[in-house]
């Protein structure tokens, strides 16, 4: 039965059909309750979708949007149905995320926030059109180990290099990783180096893994 609903949910996400996905979710929840939903349904479906996405070398934004909205709805339903005090996922710590100065394309960022939240990260979303210094100041204030900066177009993505400069200027290179993303990074693979990013991924679905790897890298650096 889990396999059937997983397959149906996956198809609904691939069709970018949120209404159908939500109906499937609530139908399953009404019958089975939500306590096992995250492990039995949500994560396997997202994992399968991520794998398919990786094989396809990226998916339309609409699919990612539906997958993220679906994850958000599912997580909220699970939270509503989880007894107080019972943790949902391991707490992985805070991160800072926003769109770089002059960039107003928040959709990708919002999708990423949903996936990160469902993976146990605490999100400090500082919004659109954010100057480089504010990313670094917020990371210091919240003790965040990862700064995630998004930009859709080349002309705004190049402003991210100022975030790297701020990290260097404040001597935080061993304390903070700079993740970069947005449509333009998929088209220009060398752009991540050009702006001084520590890493990027092709799809929002792969961001949790990137952040896990970045956190591991930082821990290793500290041990060296």
């Amino acid at each position: 039965m889990e396999m059937d609903i997983q397959q149906e949910l996956l198809q609904a996400i691939q069709d970018a059909d949120l209404n159908r996905a939500t109906k499937l979710l609530t139908g399953w929840g009404d019958l089975n309750g939500y306590s096992g939903f995250t492990d039995q349904i949500l994560l396997p479906v997202l994992e399968k979708y991520t794998l398919d996405d990786f094989k396809r070398d990226g998916s339309p934004l609409a699919q990612g949007y539906v997958a993220a909205r679906f994850a958000e709805i599912a997580i909220n339903l699970v939270i509503e149905n989880t007894p107080a005090g019972q943790a949902l996922k391991e707490d992985k710590g805070p991160i800072v995320i926003g769109n770089i100065e002059d960039d107003f394309h928040s959709l990708g960022r919002r999708i990423i926030c949903s996936f990160l939240r469902s993976n146990g990260w605490i999100i400090h979303d500082i919004g659109n059109d954010i100057p480089a210094s504010e990313f670094v100041e917020k990371a210091i204030e919240t003790n965040s180990k990862i700064i995630a900066v998004s930009a859709m177009m080349y002309s705004t993505a190049i402003n991210i290099s100022e975030v790297r400069e701020q990290i260097i200027r404040r001597n935080l290179e061993k304390e903070v990783k700079l993740a970069v993303g947005g449509a333009i990074f998929n088209l220009r693979t060398d752009l991540v180096n050009e702006v001084g990013g520590d890493g990027t991924v092709k799809s929002a679905l792969h961001v949790p893994k990137l952040f896990d790897d970045m956190l591991t890298d930082l821990k290793l650096q500290h041990h060296e």
Binding site: Q14, P60, A62, D102, S155, R188
Partner: protein, 339 residues
């Protein structure tokens, strides 16, 4: 042959004295105006002065009207942000919902300042270059136009979650799209170039493009009294390219992404439409002029038997910090290649 004759021959698939070439230098023209960017994107005389300088300096075979799509949003009350060296961008919508839009009176294309700026720039340029250099207006197709009204996030949400709201928006916007695009043609635009956002693989599924977006575009485009160029909109065009095959004949060409496979594109779309294809525009500033000539020559070599190819700077506008010699290198390549 002058540029106008060269482009007409290219559209007809006839032999030309050399390959036609063009580059998106809408913003770049501001370098030659001694005016602020705000003036450049508000005063059609200033914009036209910049484009006349572009023509004199680089001799591109097609000139472009303002590549400032956010101005369409301004006509619907959106708040814009102006920059020193790039076009204004959509910052905040004025209209928050489909119902609000349906109660919003159409911007008057005869008097709205943002629309008049777009139109007057075309009028001045096409009158100046009459039958010498074709001028393409730059606008949006009706499915993408609401991006500049609601913002991308909201419009995608409506598209995905409120299909009734999507179609009500279309009923409202299509007559405006037709009026504006035909006005630009009447003002002298040789064609209207439109980036493709909702009909490409970066945004929606293939099924959504084929079943929801394309029928609207086909119907709306068929009511335009002039040529349309569909531009790749920043992502590769090939994944859904076959779904554009039966678009109306007035879709005279496609602006491809530099990562697309030209031969495959030609095989898919057939012989009758122009393909604009070439080097990447926004990263041109990183290259050396020699490399630009070499890259362009390679492209020209691979497309030499194709009379309906125009050498093109793909993606968005060429950045202002691009050395002039890198742009001149495109012309050098087409001239060398024809010898």
């Amino acid at each position: 042959m002058n540029s106008f004759e060269r482009i007409i021959a290219t559209i007809k698939g006839e032999e030309t004295d050399r390959k036609a070439f063009t580059a998106t230098l809408s913003q770049y023209g501001s370098k030659y105006c001694a005016a602020s960017n705000q003036e450049y994107y508000q005063d059609p005389e200033v914009y036209s002065k910049g484009q006349i300088a572009i023509s004199e300096k680089f001799g591109t075979d097609v000139l472009f009207g303002p590549f400032a799509l956010a101005l369409i949003g301004k006509a619907f009350g959106a708040e814009l942000k102006f920059y020193a060296d790039r076009p204004p961008m959509f910052r905040k919508p004025f209209i928050q919902s489909v119902d609000e839009l349906l109660n919003f009176p159409y911007p008057d294309i005869q008097s709205d300042p943002a629309i008049l700026y777009l139109r007057d720039s075309i009028k001045i340029l096409s009158s100046h270059f009459n039958q010498k250099v074709p001028v393409s207006a730059v606008s949006l197709n009706p499915v993408d136009m609401p991006i500049m009204i609601f913002g991308m996030d909201k419009w995608l949400e409506i598209f995905l979650l409120d299909r009734n709201g999507f179609y009500r928006t279309m009923e409202y916007i299509i007559p405006f799209f037709i009026d504006l695009t035909n006005a630009l043609i009447n003002d002298g635009a040789a064609c209207v170039s439109m980036p493709t956002v909702f009909a490409n693989s970066g945004l929606v599924t293939r099924k959504q493009t084929a079943e929801i977006v394309n029928p609207i575009l086909k119907s709306a485009f068929s009511k335009i009294n002039g040529g349309i160029i569909m531009h790749h909109g920043g992502v590769p065009f090939l994944p859904y390219f076959d779904t554009y095959k039966d678009f109306p004949d007035n879709v005279i060409g496609f602006g491809m992404d530099w990562t697309d496979d030209y031969r495959e594109a030609r095989n898919i779309i057939g012989e009758n439409r122009v393909l604009l294809f070439g080097i990447d525009g926004p990263s041109l500033y990183l290259k050396g002029a020699r490399d630009v000539v070499d890259n362009c020559r390679k492209i020209l070599e691979s497309t030499k038997s194709d009379n309906r190819h125009i050498l093109f700077s793909c993606s968005s506008d060429i950045l202002c910090n691009t050395p002039e010699e890198n742009i001149l290198a495109m012309k050098e390549a087409v001239c060398q290649f024809s010898q």
